[in-house]
Symmetry: C2
Subunit: 439 residues, 2 copies
């Protein structure tokens, strides 16, 4: 039995330093849990902060600007990639795999888009790639799908998997402020990046659901077919209507497997407050998996941050180290299923998806408006479950009128909205937010 | 690589049949996920229902009344024990381990009390014992603690881990009925057993927290030192006061590790409705683990039932089969830590534990009562955060008066209650329910 396993870490940012901290601080604890020593031998970072060299050197043996020093080190078995991005990180991972190093990464963007190539390279080289840290920060999700729920046919994966977007929506609700103001405050507090596009436009969420769905449903998911809608158009008035409807607006990732197709989508969603998922506030994340045997299960925790994500990265490192120690590499297939990485199911076009909708119309307060709009919805087979008219009359002014629909096909909703937005009495683009039924 | 792994199952009850169903129904799926075949070869049950023999034989190759047929079968690697109880199950497991069979069990009572002997026997014989199904039904908890959260020092494990008790408390709240009436209805619906003692008196919950805490805190926990208080004394009036206080009453298991001691206790607890845990209703379970790196994480799902618990049992079977397939048995230590099974920490006496308390006094509605009681509490250093007096005066009648305390030492609370219950104006035993602060 190997008594020492050496790792090298590339990318000493938030998650990189969190990971290094855990490996050092918990060295003895990890030894008690595994029976062997996990040594962080080398840290590589091209933009290494030389004033922090002493700090970093207290966590490992060597610091370098050149990641090749790790890949070329025959003593190192595990390469931890925490650089992010598509270009350098991809090259690095492929190079490491070819050098027969096991890889641990938290790079969801890379895996969502270039996963197939990377998973294949790992298999071809007889090494493992772990990416628990790529989704849901410290919440165990990948391991749970691959191992703990192995006895299930997973039909549904959904959740809140972007802390920045959830923080903004929670703050809009708590503080009554508009999106742009809350975003600015979040940026100042470090909860949102200078360029927040990936987080607020749902792209990061789409990366993550692509990975989760591919494991849950035993098929690759083509990232470019994931319908993605962000939260930047959410207005305070919608948050207020949601409250009146006893709902919260959350940016949800939803993936469903049916016999004939898979649905994968990311969009703002009205959730009844009675759902556990609606209680997930601030930077916290939560994911629900539904399996045919286990039924509904939910996982909740911090979806980002150096230590929580570092906790996930370390769990991958330990898992690979355990495999190395017993000489049993490749114990669990990369995506949890053996065989070709392929697209086994068609992805359903968002236009064909059926949902309940919240529709907010900006209309002139004049007689006959409700009837005109309801008429167009009816022509397209959309039935209304509830209508909220303004509390007070404001003749000649633009007011908000809200309809809640029964389940309708998205295509019909879009066509109807197109016609409604052409009416003279409609003064602004209609807002449509999907409503999650209780599963 | 082994291409076939054979299992034998002893005890064909609810969980046994759920497990067998999964192994058969998902045989192909499990093959795709693992690359090998898992065969349920033999089912043993001393009370086998001979009219169901054909059904059972559709799930396996042999049915027998004699568990030894499984233990003596050289082809069988994994023995699944789903008999329950302490006597036969213990003998069976020890016999199986000695015969170098891996064991999977969901027998929490047995492990809580005789765990040390069983874990040691597994180690001595170089085989594994899996017990994911012992706690939280289908919710991944044991695997999460042992593997996914391996990079953490766990400081707190708490949750709702008995579906029967939670169902009864939820129904009392929803239906406004008293405990005994709700219990009777639960028994008729099959949610409570004919003898419900283990569930309603917190004993089953104590078994489960003993197991979770031993893994989380890397030490055996002496079951007889777990403070255990059930829900049979909870009255509808307490549920109603909880509602007024924006709380719910839940039967919580709480385990905490501090530097010098461990606290392990089971008791009804008032939880602020804003806590996720308070949203766990009916037969559902939820557990929170707090780690120094990952912070707060929560796991939610069905805590019982043939298929959910079967899902957990199958995950253990698959995990052991994977180990067998790669020749790497003993990859993860039985309790998640290598070394002796011993009692490493003192367990704190419940009398020394500090909690906030809800105290309900049954008092004569007469002047000076509140002052007398408050005076006694004050003498014992217990300060009051809130007092609820009856809305209407009812001179000479017995009414409920509620005090919420700040944190106080349990011993002081008990002494004060003893004195208060001796007052002339106090007409019934004082009810004390602990209040969980938000962590």
């Amino acid at each position: 039995m190997a008594k020492k396993v050496y790792a090298g870490l590339v990318g000493y940012g938030t998650v990189g330093s969190g990971t290094a901290e855990i490996l050092l601080k918990h060295k003895q604890d990890l030894f008690e849990k595994t029976g062997f020593e996990i040594c962080l031998k080398t840290v590589a970072d091209i933009k290494i902060d030389t004033t922090k060299l002493d700090d970093i050197l207290s966590l490992c043996q060597n610091v370098t600007k050149n990641a090749d020093d790790i890949i070329n080190d025959p003593e190192i078995d595990i390469v931890i990639e925490l650089v992010g991005g598509y270009t350098f990180a991809k090259e690095l991972i492929l190079k490491a795999l070819k050098a027969k190093k096991h890889v641990v990464t938290a790079n969801k963007a890379l895996l969502a888009i270039h996963g197939a190539e990377i998973y294949k390279a790992a298999d071809e080289n007889g090494v493992s790639i772990g990416f628990e840290g790529a989704v849901g920060g410290g919440i165990p999700l990948i391991g749970v799908l691959k191992e703990d729920l192995v006895g299930n046919n997973i039909s549904e994966v959904f959740g809140i998997i972007n802390g920045t977007a959830n923080y903004i929506l929670s703050a809009m609700e708590a503080e009554g402020k508009e999106f742009s103001e809350v975003l600015k405050a979040a940026q100042e507090k470090g909860y949102a990046e200078a360029d927040p596009t990936f987080d607020i436009e749902g792209i990061d969420t789409a990366h993550k659901i692509t990975i989760l769905a591919s494991i849950g449903f035993k098929t690759l998911i083509p990232f470019d077919k994931v319908y993605t809608e962000g939260i930047s158009d959410i207005k305070q008035v919608d948050i207020e209507f949601a409250k009146r409807l006893n709902c919260k607006i959350k940016l949800l990732a939803i993936a469903r497997k049916r016999d004939e197709y898979i649905e994968v989508r990311v969009h703002p969603t009205m959730l009844p407050k009675s759902e556990m998922m609606a209680q997930v506030n601030g930077v916290f994340n939560a994911v629900e998996f539904i399996g045919d045997m286990v039924d509904k299960t939910m996982y909740y925790g911090r979806g980002a941050g150096g230590r929580p994500t570092g906790s996930a990265v370390v769990s991958d490192v330990v898992s690979i180290a355990r495999d190395i120690a017993i000489g049993g590499v490749g114990r669990v297939p990369v995506l949890g299923f053996a065989g070709e990485y392929d697209y086994h199911y068609p992805i359903r076009d968002i236009k064909d998806v059926r949902s309940k909708f919240y529709l907010r119309f900006s209309v002139l307060d004049e007689p006959g408006t409700l009837a005109k709009i309801a008429g167009i919805l009816g022509e397209h087979g959309i039935s209304i479950s509830q209508a909220i008219q303004p509390d007070e009359r404001a003749p000649g002014e633009v007011v908000s009128m809200v309809f809640m629909t029964h389940k309708a096909v998205t295509r019909d909703i879009m066509t109807a909205i197109g016609e409604i937005d052409g009416l003279d009495c409609v003064k602004d683009k209609t807002v449509a937010i999907r409503v999650k039924e209780i599963v």
